[in-house]
């Protein structure tokens, strides 16, 4: 019966309750949509980071990434690749020869990471080949093809089939150089990656630095199930203790934090909204209690315990908050549904966003965990907001309260 009274009490003043419910709804709709928007944004960055740049697992010679020393290569690569390829759930293995160098066009030059790849093997571990805006993936040019990013092409002022010169230190420590011709230009949402990474055929790069074409500094491993990445990384670490095995979370830690940062941002945003709404709810409940002193006095007089009176007022506040909260969440979900198919175009900010690896097209993503957490936060707000008014109500002496006009 307490639940029934609490619910009916909310509608004693439909206008007042309606206003606070509307305020909560608007706040929660914004919070919910913000959650799905952020989730979509972060997921896109995560997916792009893993599938285009990092793949699932990276294996290196232990000291290679400290100074990119050419001589820090993985020994006996051939048998390692064969062994890795035979492991269950491994559906792609690609060896890399990696060199830090200078790249120059007729106009200008800059520092880049040159990655020597086997184009066919690379297609099994990253989807960069599908991100070509122009040209082909190390095809169409017979001698020394190179794939560069759109931002680098702009910086070097080169286009498809333009010549660029790579200057590197070879295995003997001599400075050497080679001319490459742009066979493809990739467009991804990470401007920094576009500017700092170029891809050439592994044998072309090995020849340039005077090393065997089988020389490999790192191997990327792709699995058929992303849920198994951590488990597989642990297995490979124990299987190859002499090598440095890292899951994408370890090789690109900034990606690993994206989800947590996204969730944190969402929850902080929602908590700020609820905090502001909480004061409104306290104010509403204080007015409610002031209007009902006489009734509360009567309830205590006829034998309703303080705990029951407290519970009734708390329930009333939680129901009020939850009504607005659920309504707001539904509105937020509706807004998500309307935009998740066609996305939200932020291309007017694309330059800044792409510099940080974020796509200017955002497709909101619905996640049950966020909905549950937001509902729990709404309930917690209702409970917290009810404590002060309910405690205030309990301080009245029933005899005095009944006589109140």
């Amino acid at each position: 019966m307490i639940q029934s009274i609490a619910w009916r009490n909310i509608w004693r003043s439909p206008l007042r309750s309606g206003i606070i419910i509307a305020a909560i709804s608007v706040g929660m709709a914004a919070g919910m949509f913000s959650a799905t928007f952020t989730k979509g944004w972060m997921n896109q960055r995560l997916e792009a980071g893993i599938e285009t740049e990092a793949s699932h697992i990276r294996i290196q010679a232990p000291l290679f990434d400290e100074n990119y020393d050419l001589k820090e290569y993985i020994p006996d690569t051939e048998s390692l690749i064969t062994s890795l390829s035979s492991i269950d759930h491994v559906n792609g293995v690609s060896p890399h020869l990696v060199i830090q160098s200078m790249i120059a066009s007729a106009e200008t030059g800059t520092g880049v990471k040159i990655v020597g790849i086997d184009a066919t093997a690379e297609k099994s571990v990253t989807n960069l080949y599908s991100k070509l805006g122009e040209g082909k993936y190390l095809e169409g040019i017979k001698r020394n093809p190179i794939v560069i990013g759109r931002n680098l092409a702009k910086k070097l002022k080169v286009k498809l089939r333009s010549k660029v010169v790579i200057t590197v230190q070879d295995a003997d420590g001599n400075i050497t150089g080679g001319a490459f011709r742009v066979s493809g230009i990739f467009d991804i949402t990470n401007g920094m990656y576009e500017e700092g990474n170029v891809f050439v055929r592994k044998e072309d790069l090995a020849r340039l630095v005077n090393m065997k074409s089988s020389t490999t500094h790192e191997i990327l491993v792709h699995l058929d199930d992303t849920e198994l990445i951590d488990e597989m990384a642990i297995q490979l670490k124990s299987q190859y203790p002499e090598l440095k095995v890292q899951s994408w979370k370890e090789s690109m830690p900034e990606l690993g934090y994206i989800n947590e940062i996204g969730n944190l941002y969402t929850y902080i945003f929602v908590i700020i909204i609820l905090l502001a709404l909480g004061f409104g709810i306290v104010n509403t409940m204080m007015m409610v209690i002031l209007e009902r002193i006489k009734e509360i006095g009567m309830l205590m007089a006829v034998g309703m315990s303080k705990l029951r009176v407290f519970s009734m007022l708390m329930l009333e506040t939680v129901m009020l908050t939850l009504t607005g909260g659920v309504l707001g969440i539904l509105i937020g979900l509706w807004a998500t549904y309307l935009t998740m198919e066609n996305g939200i175009d932020l291309s007017m900010y694309s330059e800044g966003l792409e510099n940080f690896g974020y796509s200017p097209m955002v497709y909101p993503v619905l996640e049950m965990e966020s909905i549950i957490v937001i509902i729990l936060l709404v309930i917690a707000t209702g409970i917290i907001a009810s404590i002060y008014p309910a405690r205030k109500a309990l301080k009245y002496n029933p005899a005095d309260a009944i006589r109140t006009d």
Binding site: M1, I5, R8, N9, W11, R12, K294, E295, M298, L299, M300, A301, V302, G303, M304, S305, K306, R308, N397, P398, A399, I402
Partner: protein, 234 residues
């Protein structure tokens, strides 16, 4: 048999600079089934006495024993439970719960007492019939007249099968016809249920119906007349 024993009761308000002796050394007994009115001018201490009798206010000195339970020795939670089980209240302004129907208002205390549904329904319907509100059980207080609301309040006060009912100025907001109806109903219920009724009132019509009239002035009992025995135990 006494169900209420008031012994040397005092209530002094000293919140302001001037101390007010609202109840001054009152000793009274009430027997089961009495129909008593406490009368006196405004400020005489009637309501204060009634509040202490109902456990809503604490005496400065003295004791109230209800069936040998010292009301003011009970802890707060025990006192609330004691009120729920033993005392019915009828207030001047009816004080019904506006969001509940007449039936739900009557049932409310039985809910607090955790009575089962069958028992609640039977008792509620029988009380609403007794107060002449059969057919209006689903009306909310706002749809009832003042007299009808007060009759719901009487039914609610009796729902918990209390030892006694305290009614503070129950007819003050009612017209003559409603007052007559209400008093007849309460008198009938008093006889049927054998429940003690104690009124605080200014209303001569209540005084006329009461079988015992206690007059208070300046916090003291100045007369206690039992009409049935025509005695004055001043």
């Amino acid at each position: 048999m006494n169900i209420i024993e008031i012994k040397e009761l005092h209530k002094i308000y000293d919140e302001s600079e001037v101390k007010v002796h609202a109840v001054n050394n009152i000793s009274l007994n009430f027997e089961k089934g009495e129909f008593a009115a406490i009368v006196g001018p405004s400020g005489s201490g009637k309501t204060t006495l009634l509040n202490m009798l109902g456990g809503l206010d604490k005496p400065t000195d003295g004791n109230i024993l209800i069936d040998n339970t010292n009301l003011h020795k009970l802890r707060s939670s025990e006192l609330i439970r004691f009120r729920m089980m033993n005392i019915g209240f009828v207030f001047q302004a009816y004080n019904l719960i506006p969001v509940l129907t007449a039936k739900e208002n009557v049932e409310f205390i039985m809910h607090l007492q955790n009575k089962n549904k069958k028992e609640r329904e039977e008792r509620t319907m029988s009380l609403l019939k007794a107060v002449g509100l059969e057919g209006r059980e689903n009306s909310r207080p706002s749809k009832l007249s003042g007299g009808q609301q007060q009759r719901v309040a009487v039914a609610r006060a009796l729902a918990s099968k209390p030892k006694f009912v305290l009614a503070d100025e129950p007819t003050a907001n009612l017209d003559s016809k409603s007052t007559e109806q209400l008093l007849s109903i309460m008198e009938e219920l008093n006889k049927q249920e054998h429940i003690t009724f104690i009124f605080s009132t200014h209303d001569q019509r209540v005084v006329n119906k009461a079988r015992r009239v206690i007059t208070i002035e300046d916090g003291k009992v100045i007369s206690d007349i039992r009409k049935d025995v025509e005695s004055d135990s001043k």
